[in-house]
């Protein structure tokens, strides 16, 4: 039977010290306790001992300590308990943290939302029909007119029923929209624009730059001319600006000293 020597492990030092004594007391009884299922054959035992040999040479002649089954069981149970405790502690800590965060978010959200009275009015007012731009009402810039149709066939996207509410409140007249629909619409419009851009100017199309296009004639003349946009006027604008500023300051300085 292999006796486990107390090795440097994750168990804290205090626990190690405690464990030091019980195994030595019950060494004799450990011989009887093969219930732990430790391999008693030499093949399994030898590698462990070999590792030990490299580290602790002086402890080689000592007999391995004996461990009783009960003590080992108690040890294991204690360990389990400790682990369970720590996990429970961690869980509660996390729970508390989450609770605090949730409260913080709710508070922030409350701050962001419109005041309660306006929200009430929004939910009670019904959906409107096609909007006609009237000269009187000053609508907000985001204008999406939606109508709820009865569709016979299915449509891939969910029917975007947006409740558009007009003239909430006596003095102000504005339009409330659901932002989720707006994002979806924008995403599709972007995808459509990307499709057109890709099919006309994307890879695989035979496009060339304006400079090359306009310079094609110049290349075939009997006296070859330069390209249409030979000079790059946008080169070094920062440098040119700095130079101009420096020149102005230098002139002023020169005027001052010459006077």
């Amino acid at each position: 039977m292999v006796q486990l020597r107390p090795r440097a492990s994750r168990i804290p030092a205090s626990a190690m010290v405690d464990e030091g004594q019980p195994p030595s007391e019950e060494e004799e009884e450990a011989e009887h306790g093969l219930l732990l299922g430790q391999p008693s054959s030499g093949a399994a035992a030898e590698p462990l001992e070999e590792e030990d040999e490299e580290g602790d040479d002086e402890l080689d002649d000592e007999a391995p300590e004996e461990l009783t089954f009960a003590s080992a069981q108690a040890e294991a149970r204690e360990e389990e308990r400790r682990v369970r405790e720590s996990v429970r502690r961690d869980k509660t800590l996390l729970k508390e943290k989450r609770k605090r965060r949730e409260e913080l978010f709710i508070e922030q959200k409350k701050r962001k939302l419109l005041p309660d009275n306006i929200l009430e009015k929004l939910t009670t007012a019904g959906p409107t029909n096609i909007k006609k731009p009237s000269g009187k009402l000053k609508e907000a810039n985001l204008q999406k007119k939606k109508e709820e149709y009865e569709k016979g066939s299915d449509s891939k996207n969910a029917k975007e029923k947006v409740q558009k509410v007009q003239s909430v409140g006596q003095n102000k007249s504005y339009v409330a929209l659901r932002l989720k629909d707006q994002d979806l619409r924008d995403a599709r419009q972007q995808a459509a624009k990307a499709f057109i851009q890709n099919s006309l100017y994307g890879p695989g199309t035979n496009r060339t730059t304006i400079n090359k296009f306009l310079s094609l004639e110049n290349k075939r003349l009997p006296v070859k001319k330069a390209a249409a946009q030979f000079l790059n006027n946008a080169w070094g604008t920062q440098k040119k600006q700095n130079a101009k500023r420096f020149k102005r300051r230098w002139m002023v300085r020169k005027m001052k000293t010459s006077k």
Binding site: R185, Q189, A192, I210, L216
Partner: protein, 686 residues
């Protein structure tokens, strides 16, 4: 004529937007053109191809399809998923209906004009019923797998052809189901990696479907059997648009290389009755993609990314072979985008989303005729004013003293006060502009900068008095009778008593500002007004029309002047009447009441009313003869129209003071240099 120093301005970085869709209306001979920035312009082809109305654009509105319905109703649909109807009388958008199919790629009106089909991003084809005041959703057709990029009705209204990616479907309108699905070959230069996009379809009454696709092919399909009949490979790049004439004996296609091909139905041999489609004429008037074509009974119309609108009359269809049968290329705007403050030598440039204020440079050198004088102080970019919101700027103006700037979009009106101290400039916005000022079509300040005149799109004219930091609404002239024919133009007399406004079918109205009432109305003329101005001292109203006629009307006398009657009796020189571009600005010399200065895109002219008028035999354009000629000859050939073509293309020309002119030019090369990339052309030897 006098000697002038000319400020030649080339720093107006004006780039027109590319043309995306074109729709021709046969009954009224009008053309609706939509551009990539969302603007929709209406050209009157019988009024010398003049742009009479336009609807300002919006950033989110990417128009993809435009069509006319019965009764002069104009609809457009775009990538924001909405179908928009335009009100041609009130010059605003009547309403916008969401189609709930995602971005809309194509739209077609049924042959009887009562139904509307849209092809959407999710592959659905939706049918709408056109009711007298709006459109109503009827039903969906069978949903297809990929986006529907082109649609066309059969002339009888029973079937519809829809072009998508890699295939064309033919639908039966009654049931809404797809009858045939024709697969298009992807083959493009031997490589079949890219998907074949069907950019356009056309349906003929004998059941032939013509499709144009991105592989450069024009294909003829038989819709009864769903098979390919004929295949023409006409280009190395995409063929992007197709338009069939009403008689169905010719159609036109536009390619991405800028070439426009004309196909005609000709008989196989001279006496056989069998006919076939033959590609007859190629036209190369564009440098970039031709994304829209239209076929009128006598002309082929094309427009594309290179921003030109080209109208090519077909010689065999034109009855009278005169100058009307020449090619027309519309490149420059037909209205003024620049306003000038004479006192401070400032220019205000109007772009689609911002305004720029520049101060002109100055020179101290002198020279003789034709010299270029060096600048002692360069032109200064004083202000770059961006508009808030996604809408385009409709019109803008700067007051003659330079302290007020006003501009208008569809939903708001902005008025700014400028303060100059030493070399700095500060801007203050005047807040709380009244709601009735928005959607202004034309803004004008009075000569002493105390009053602001605004013409709104409802037809009314507002007069506002400007005070130090605020304003006061003085009066509103209600719209007079008559339909709206073109965009309103305003002119105010330098002494501040008279205000002239044009744009309705009733003629040009002249209002008395001191008494705030209508003074008189100039009799209407059947061509729209392109420019309007009131002369100082004499208070003669000079009106230029789109057929190049110039009238002079005396406001105090309420009748045409003697000079105007004389020239109408004699008629203008034939070369003057054959000019392509409309006169966009008229101005006067403060010390010489007999001179009228006007300009169009390719010339500027000083009309001297004291000199004799030219008849058709004299040379119209005679620049200064060499001094070797004797005085007698010079006196004999001198006539009233002094034309100079030195500065072109001109966007604006005005008299700053007695000895200075300012000419704002926009060379075509500078516009082309900033366009999107064109298709590569391979030429031998390069």
């Amino acid at each position: 004529m006098g000697e002038f120093k000319v400020h030649r301005v080339r720093f107006f970085n004006y780039i027109p937007s590319g043309i995306r869709c074109v729709a021709y209306n046969n009954q009224s001979n009008r053309l609706a053109v939509s551009r990539t920035d969302g603007t929709v312009e209406i050209y009157n082809l019988s009024a010398n191809y003049f742009q009479e109305k336009f609807f300002p654009g919006h950033e989110s509105r990417a128009t993809e399809a435009l069509c006319w319905a019965k009764g002069q109703r104009l609809f457009s649909a775009g990538l924001n998923g909405e179908i928009i109807e335009y009100d041609l009388q009130a010059l605003n958008i009547k309403y916008a209906v969401d189609a709930f199919g995602g971005p809309i790629w194509s739209m077609a009106v049924s042959p009887h004009g009562s139904q509307l089909l849209v092809g959407c991003e999710d592959g659905s084809v939706k049918l709408f019923q056109i009711t007298p005041d709006k459109i109503q959703f009827e039903r969906n057709f069978d949903r297809q797998k990929s986006r529907i990029l082109s649609l066309c009705w059969h002339p009888s209204g029973t079937h519809v052809a829809a072009g998508s990616i890699d295939y064309i479907s033919v639908f039966d309108v009654k049931s809404g189901s797809a009858v045939h699905k024709m697969l298009v070959d992807r083959q493009y230069m031997g490589v079949s990696k890219r998907k074949c996009i069907i950019w356009g379809v056309a349906f003929l009454s004998d059941g032939t479907v013509i499709s144009v696709d991105s592989a450069g092919k024009v294909q003829f399909w038989d819709s009864a059997t769903g098979t390919l009949v004929k295949n023409h490979l006409i280009a190395n790049a995409d063929v992007q648009s197709i338009a069939v004439s009403d008689q169905e004996d010719s159609f036109v296609v536009g390619t991405a290389e800028g070439t426009v091909f004309h196909f005609q139905l000709v008989s196989v041999t001279s006496n056989s009755s069998e006919k076939q489609w033959v590609r007859t004429k190629p036209f190369q008037h564009h440098t970039h993609d031709v994304r829209a074509v239209a076929h009128s009974p006598t002309a082929l119309i094309s427009g594309g990314t290179d921003t030109h609108l080209v109208i090519r009359p077909l010689m065999e269809k034109v009855e009278v072979k005169n100058y009307d049968a020449a090619l027309r290329k519309i490149t420059f705007p037909h209205r003024r985008l620049i306003s000038c403050s004479k006192k401070r030598q400032l220019l205000l440039f109007q772009f689609t989303h911002h305004l720029e204020l520049w101060r002109l440079g100055s020179t101290v050198a002198t020279g003789k005729n034709g010299d270029t004088l060096p600048l002692s102080r360069n032109a200064d970019h004083l202000l770059h004013l961006k508009t808030k919101g996604p809408e385009n700027i409709i019109c803008s103006c700067i007051s003659p003293c330079g302290s007020w700037i006003a501009y208008s979009t569809t939903s708001r009106f902005f008025l700014y006060r400028l303060n100059y101290e030493h070399d700095n400039i500060s801007l203050q916005r005047v807040s709380k502009m009244p709601a009735f000022l928005r959607s202004a079509l034309q803004i004008l300040f009075s000569e002493d900068s105390t009053k602001l005149f605004v013409a709104s799109n409802q037809g009314s004219l507002h007069v506002i008095r400007l005070l130090e930091g605020s304003f006061k609404h003085l009066h509103t002239f209600q719209p007079q009778s008559g339909t709206v024919e073109s965009m309103c133009l305003l002119a105010v007399s330098p002494d501040g008593n008279w205000l002239a406004s044009s744009g309705t079918s009733a003629g040009v109205h002249v209002y008395n500002i001191k008494h705030l009432k209508l003074h008189c109305t100039v009799p209407s003329y059947n061509f729209p007004v392109t420019a309007l101005a009131i002369a100082p001292n004499t208070n003669n109203l000079v009106i230029a029309h789109s057929d190049q006629q110039v009238f002079e009307y005396s406001i105090p006398d309420k009748q045409y002047t003697e000079w105007s009657r004389t020239i109408q009796k004699q008629g203008f020189h034939y070369l003057w009447l054959q000019r392509d571009t409309p006169i966009t600005h008229i101005s006067f010399h403060p010390k010489r009441p007999m001179h009228i200065l006007l300009h169009d895109a390719y010339m500027f002219c000083i009309i001297d009313k004291s000199l004799p008028l030219p008849n058709d035999k004299t040379l119209l354009y005679n620049p200064l003869p060499p001094t070797k000629e004797s005085d007698v000859i010079r006196r004999r050939t001198a006539h009233a129209f002094k034309i100079s073509k030195i500065y072109k293309p001109l966007l604006f020309m005005d008299l700053l003071d007695e000895r200075t002119l300012v000419a704002v030019e926009r060379p075509l090369d500078d516009i082309i240099a900033q366009l999107p990339p064109p298709i590569k052309k391979k030429k031998f030897g390069t």
